[in-house]
């Protein structure tokens, strides 16, 4: 089976560890991710001003690429790309005036009306691959691994693009359980990590990141799973500083959910690229005797 795939900028460099495990896992399950040709940056955030249509052009152009591939859906891994593409798609479906303006501005492109469905990889795993198939393909069950389910903002807000109904937060739990892990829900699982404020107001962003990490620890988690490179930076790469400032009680290894997927499918550490995570991540898995080499 082939499916259109939008990677996004960060996944090609600093978040290769989000992409590689997902692509290899899908290949192992007989799904080929067909990367969109000539894709561009989605813009990272949805433009919220009523008169600002120029910032919708980038995500809509990506959706047109998927339509040209003849696809009904395009899969994304990064939470922020998912949110930006899904909201631009809704705008093109629901607002005729804005749709006409954007389509006539991009007169070199085919007209777009929201034909393609934007699907986050977690939904793809649940609805197209299926938890049963995933469960039966696991070679290295993550038994005994207590993983906090962290959604952040852009997978669940606003509600018209949420990957599951408001307040439900089941999908990450079901995913981790299919891999054999123990999913740990906690009150801060949809709390914002501070997002881009790590640049403009780092202290405020560090405060919320600390709340999330300590919340996960208090709930009994040993690790945390997420799907956004900005959350991964704020929660994973700031822990030394947070510990030094006494903002968190202990460090928590942070993983992309796709790394845990590849690990459980026995694809090994080379695919998972733990070298791009916080230092603790690979050490923690080694300490727990999970094989970081591919399993035949």
């Amino acid at each position: 089976m082939k499916v259109s795939y939008y990677p996004g900028c960060t996944l090609k460099t600093k978040a290769k560890n989000l992409e590689d495990g997902a692509v290899a896992s899908m290949a192992a399950l007989g799904v080929e991710f067909e990367e969109l040709p000539r894709w561009n940056c989605c813009g990272a955030v949805h433009s919220l001003a009523d008169d600002d249509l120029i910032h919708q052009v980038a995500p809509v152009r990506d959706l047109i690429r998927a339509m040209e591939q003849g696809s009904e859906k395009v899969v994304t891994l990064c939470s922020m790309c998912y949110n930006t593409l899904a909201r631009a798609n809704l705008l093109m479906r629901e607002d005729e005036t804005k749709r006409n303006t954007i389509n006539s501005f991009m007169n070199e492109e085919k007209d777009y009306h929201g034909e393609v469905e934007v699907v986050h990889f977690l939904n793809f795993l649940r609805d197209t691959v299926g938890w049963e198939k995933l469960r039966s393909s696991v070679k290295v069950p993550l038994k005994g691994l207590k993983v906090a389910t962290y959604y952040g903002c852009t997978l669940v807000r606003p509600r018209n693009v949420a990957i599951e109904p408001a307040g439900e937060q089941k999908i990450m739990k079901e995913f981790l359980e299919a891999l054999g892990a123990t999913a740990v829900g906690f009150p801060a699982e949809t709390l914002c990590c501070g997002s881009y404020q790590i640049l403009a107001n780092p202290d405020a962003a560090l405060d919320v990141s600390a709340t999330i990490l300590d919340g996960a620890t208090r709930a009994g988690a040993e690790a945390l799973a997420l799907s956004c490179p900005l959350c991964e930076f704020n929660l994973g790469k700031t822990q030394e500083e947070l510990l030094g400032k006494g903002k968190i009680s202990k460090e928590v290894p942070v993983y992309y959910f796709t790394q845990l997927l590849a690990l459980a499918l026995g694809l090994g550490g080379e695919v998972c690229r733990f070298d791009l995570n916080d230092k603790l991540s690979a050490e923690f898995l080694k300490g727990r005797n999970y094989p970081l080499e591919a399993v035949a």
């Binding site: 940056c41 910032h55 807000r157 914002c192 107001n201």
Partner: protein
């Protein structure tokens, strides 16, 4: 008890001066047009600030920004750092009992400054080491929200 343990900042004097000098009658119209939100629907319940993960770092909570906007207090709203502390996480939006999309209101307030060709942060002043560490989406989203 709030979920977040922010280093508590002292909030400024709560008084608001309302006079012909401070009230700009077209300010609320401009915010409403840009945000697509009817600011007058806000009934000051404070749910937005209670839910906001960044409110502990704000001197002026979103509820007060909404009231000042209703009153046309352009200067006070523009001088407040609230919209620059907002992380666009949409927690206020999904919790507002009046159905107001506060994330859009904050964006409108930011844009009324940015469209005067004024950057809130200067990309050239960010240390090179920081740029090297940060994921691209952090830089792109921050520049989208805080530069003109």
């Amino acid at each position: 008890m709030s979920l977040i343990r922010h280093s508590t900042k002292k909030r400024k004097n709560m008084s608001i001066e309302i006079s012909e000098k401070t009230v700009k009658s077209d300010f609320v119209e401009r915010v409403m047009k840009l945000s697509g939100q009817n600011i007058y629907k806000c009934f000051q319940c404070g749910t937005c600030g209670g839910a906001c993960p960044m409110s502990g770092s704000m001197e002026t909570v979103p509820r007060k920004i909404m009231r000042m906007t209703q009153l046309g207090l352009e200067e006070g709203v523009s001088e407040s750092k609230t919209c620059w502390t907002c992380a666009s996480c949409h927690t206020c939006t999904v919790n507002c009992p009046r159905g107001l999309d506060l994330a859009r209101v904050m964006e409108a307030i930011r844009l009324l400054t940015l469209r005067k060709n004024a950057n809130h942060i200067e990309p050239s002043k960010i240390p090179a080491q920081r740029v090297k560490q940060l994921p691209q989406i952090a830089l792109v989203s921050c520049f989208r929200k805080m530069t003109s």
